[in-house]
């Protein structure tokens, strides 16, 4: 089946003329129609746009002049990336009918590379959540077990790639929102260095933490997509002017002698024993490949979650202030005046988790509390960054579990705090602005995927991906498929 192919295998078929982008796009659209009613990865599917783009790609491949190494590849994007003329809901009622007048920079770059947009994927409302249950529309299911969650907030993108509903996808990661669903869906999920990929057109959750990255079937695919979306964007002042190397070319180099740090604090109390066993086994595999593993300490890990839950809600409370019913999005009816209109619109438009975080953040920024909360959290953030700096003076890459637990059942984590603990191993990476990737490192007895996280130095995605690729090549995990038609 063409939909099972990796991006690089699919493109090889385009090159040889064994398949066309149109055939691939049709195959994916057919599969979405057949399988997505049970997975529910997509909020919006864009068949016309996809087929038109695929037809153009057909011509380029026929002429032997593809726009990029991923020309014609069908891709899904998280529904918080603005797409001109295609509604962008952010998983929220308040943006249910919002159609952006512009494309996000990553969308422009993907289309300039010739990729085919299949549609927009489901997510926790405004990227706040770890299960994709907090979408205002419906919950996405984990392709490995439909009774379980795919993780979140980019659960739709993870599920789409895992279920072969897209060749690759984009998500966003603020505290683990790419890596955690990648672990839960057994996909490769890469959060690049903060500043590596332009955020222009990414509907903001927490501006200083948000970063766009790919979901893929293997590490090579993730590297291919990253190459296209990375790089300085004059429209995003926080995007870095650092050249994006040919990540794929770097993958072939062996990892012999690579120093791997294993942070003791990441093997937390109460973590699932199957997760721990798989991760420890993976570290043994890396050693056999020539990696030199050594224990390291990241002592501020315990404080990172608390700091994150002040900084991210503070920024969110500010970023979400604009949804007031005045300009775009939903507007509540029956208001007495403009203040009442905004209040009603927000009361009706936002779900409970979003409201909770707006209140948390508003409080953290209030006069008299700012220093005690936001100010202190920023100091912790600095300490977290220093922990990593110290670690990277000794090691090249850090290896750890992506999440302490296996995919859980829908409705299982009602308590917000229990949900927040899901991200305890991914959040420090966002606070420090580092790149991180999750790859499949085994399965539980029940057949649920387990994620291995690699964390790298700033802008050193090349080494990070090289280690992940070496591991992936040495194991056969990526051949297993979810139990779907």
């Amino acid at each position: 089946m063409i939909t099972q192919l990796t991006v690089h295998a699919l493109v090889e078929q385009f090159r040889r003329g064994a398949a066309t982008p149109s055939a691939a796009a049709r195959a994916y659209l057919d599969r979405i129609a057949a399988v997505d009613p049970s997975v529910r990865a997509y909020i919006t599917v864009t068949p016309e746009r996809a087929l038109a783009a695929a037809a153009a790609a057909d011509a380029r491949w026929r002429a032997g002049r593809p726009l990029s190494p991923i020309d014609g590849v069908p891709i899904a994007v998280k529904d918080l990336l603005c797409t001109k003329g295609v509604r962008t809901t952010c998983g929220s009622r308040i943006l249910e009918h919002f159609v952006p007048p512009y494309d996000a920079t990553v969308i422009e770059r993907l289309e300039a590379a010739g990729t085919v947009l299949l549609g927009k994927t489901n997510m926790d409302e405004f990227a706040m959540g770890s299960s994709t249950e907090h979408s205002a529309f419906f919950a996405t299911r984990n392709p490995w077990d439909l009774a379980r969650v795919p993780g979140g907030s980019s659960g739709g993108s993870g599920a789409a790639v895992a279920a072969d509903l897209a060749a690759a996808a984009l998500g966003s990661d603020t505290g683990g929102s790419i890596r955690q669903p990648a672990a839960f869906t057994g996909t490769v999920g890469l959060k690049p260095t903060y500043g590596r990929v332009s955020r222009y057109g990414l509907v903001a959750f927490a501006s200083s933490l948000d970063q766009i990255g790919p979901f893929a079937k293997d590490v090579i695919d993730a590297a291919l997509v990253l190459r296209v979306i990375a790089g300085r964007d004059p429209l995003d002042s926080t995007s870095a002017d650092v050249p994006a190397p040919d990540f794929v070319a770097e993958l072939g180099r062996p990892i012999e002698g690579l120093r791997l740090g294993v942070p003791q604090e990441y093997f937390v109390e109460g973590m699932d024993p199957e997760v721990e066993a798989s991760v420890r086994e993976a570290i043994e595999v890396l050693k056999r490949l020539g990696g030199r593993a050594e224990p390291i300490s990241l002592p501020t890990t315990d404080y990172a979650l608390a700091a994150y839950y002040l900084i991210a809600p503070a920024e969110a409370s500010s970023n979400l202030a604009r949804y007031d019913g005045v300009k775009y999005g939903s507007r509540a009816a029956g208001a007495r005046d403009v203040i009442d209109m905004s209040s009603k619109t927000r009361a009706q438009g936002f779900g409970p988790e979003v409201k909770r975080r707006i209140m948390l953040g508003t409080y953290a920024l209030s006069a008299g509390y700012y220093e005690a909360y936001y100010g202190k959290a920023q100091k912790v953030r600095t300490l977290v960054r220093r922990d990593f700096d110290a670690a990277f003076a000794r090691v090249d890459v850090i290896v750890a579990p992506t999440t302490p637990n296996l995919p859980f059942k829908h409705g299982e984590k009602e308590d917000p705090l229990a949900m927040y603990l899901n991200d305890v191993l991914t959040i420090p990476v966002n606070l420090a602005g580092l790149p991180g990737v999750s790859v499949r490192c085994g399965f539980s007895l029940a057949g649920l995927p387990i994620g291995l996280q690699f964390i790298g130095r700033p802008f050193d995605e090349a080494t990070l991906l090289r280690a992940a690729h070496a591991y992936e090549q040495a194991t056969g995990w990526q051949t297993r498929r979810p139990p779907l038609p």
Partner: protein, 486 residues
Amino acid sequence: MTDPSAAYEVVIGLEVHAQLRTRSKMFCGCPTAFGAPPNSQTCPVCQGMPGSLPVINRRAVEFGVRTALAFHCRVNASCRFARKHYYYPDMPKNYQISQYEEPLAEDGWLELQADGQPRRIAIQRLHLEEDVGRLIHEGTLETAHASLVDFNRSGVPLMETVSQPDVRSPEEAAAYLRAFRAVLLYLGVCDGNMEEGSLRCDANISLRRWGAPDLGTKVEIKNLNSFKNVQRALEFEALRQREALDRGERIVQETRLWDADRGRTRTMRGKEQAHDYRYFPEPDLVPLELSRASVEAVRADLPELPAARRQRFVREYGLPTYDADLLTQTRALADYYEAAVREVPHPKLVSNWMMSELLRAIPADDERALAASPISPRHLAGLLRLVADGTITGKIAKDVFEKMFRSGEDALTIVGREGLTQIADTAALGAVVDQVLRANPKAVEDWRRGKKAAAGALVGQVMKATQGKANPSVVNSLLEAKLSQL
């Protein structure tokens, strides 16, 4: 208000918001031109669309640095933008990108003339921010069925300058603003148009007993859209506070709105309703670093500023301070003056004509009107050259000036066409004088009897007979000679 016999000292601080004359907005590429159709100059950034991000306008920063240096401020090597939060439908993001803890520049001063003496008002800080949109209500604000938002102004660069509470009277506040505006106009960073809102002012005012070490409770006044209103509002407020204090009342800390129609201030919001702006550093922008070299480059490029130019006009052209003050209040006016003087080297004559004639037709502080003046500096100089060399009389020149202003023609054209050249020829004028003496025996008789004022009437008759073209001094001497011979 500075009257030391009064019981209280008036303490005023001023906050001025100036729209910067950049071509594009503070954080996006949209044009800033005033008066375009609603929402025609907008984009995702200045409409606060989801996903849009700000990018700092370098030109606006340069304008800010230029102004900061003109005000003798310290330009910070690194500054930050911050978000200031409050809900209002004219503000698309419901926060304004401004600067808070780390402004562009701090600690400067502005010199102004108070009773002919120079006085320095300390400037606390200068920072950059974005303007908000404009609400248009169908009906009055209170009864409107609908309100519309125009985001053309949203994102236009604003520069906020906060003075220390150094201003001591409402008149001085107006003088500060005039001096402030003059500096901005000289720098070319703001068009200074208060009616269009390019320059806006808020004032803080408090009273304290003379010699008291602590400041009194201050009241903030908003909606001051002209120099006159600033002064009137502060005069009203000083009086209101003085009367309240005299009655033994306490001044309540609040924000008051100036109602120009009623000539009074009224409560807008109290201290309890004061906003908590929840400032925090703007995460979408990196700190703005300004190298010493870039600041020095701006400094090296500063134009001559009003105070320096005023002094030079006194020194170089020998003008009285009053003339120099008036002529240097805008760069365009001072440029006009110097252009005219270059053409006709009679500095005081040019000054007199500009003050008495030109500035009667064109407001002294209106650079745009001056630029559109039908009489160019060269044309004015041309007219004054004819006056200086005696070709036309001063009286004729005023009529010619009127005609030039209406038609845009130069003086020579009008004088030539209408035959207005002065008559100084004694033979020709002698004949006219003889005729006048014959026709006015009564006046001649009066003169003889010692009523020397009768000569004035005779001069007037000569002027009338020559349609004002007769050279007055020639007429005078001819008359004197002929009368004494009679």
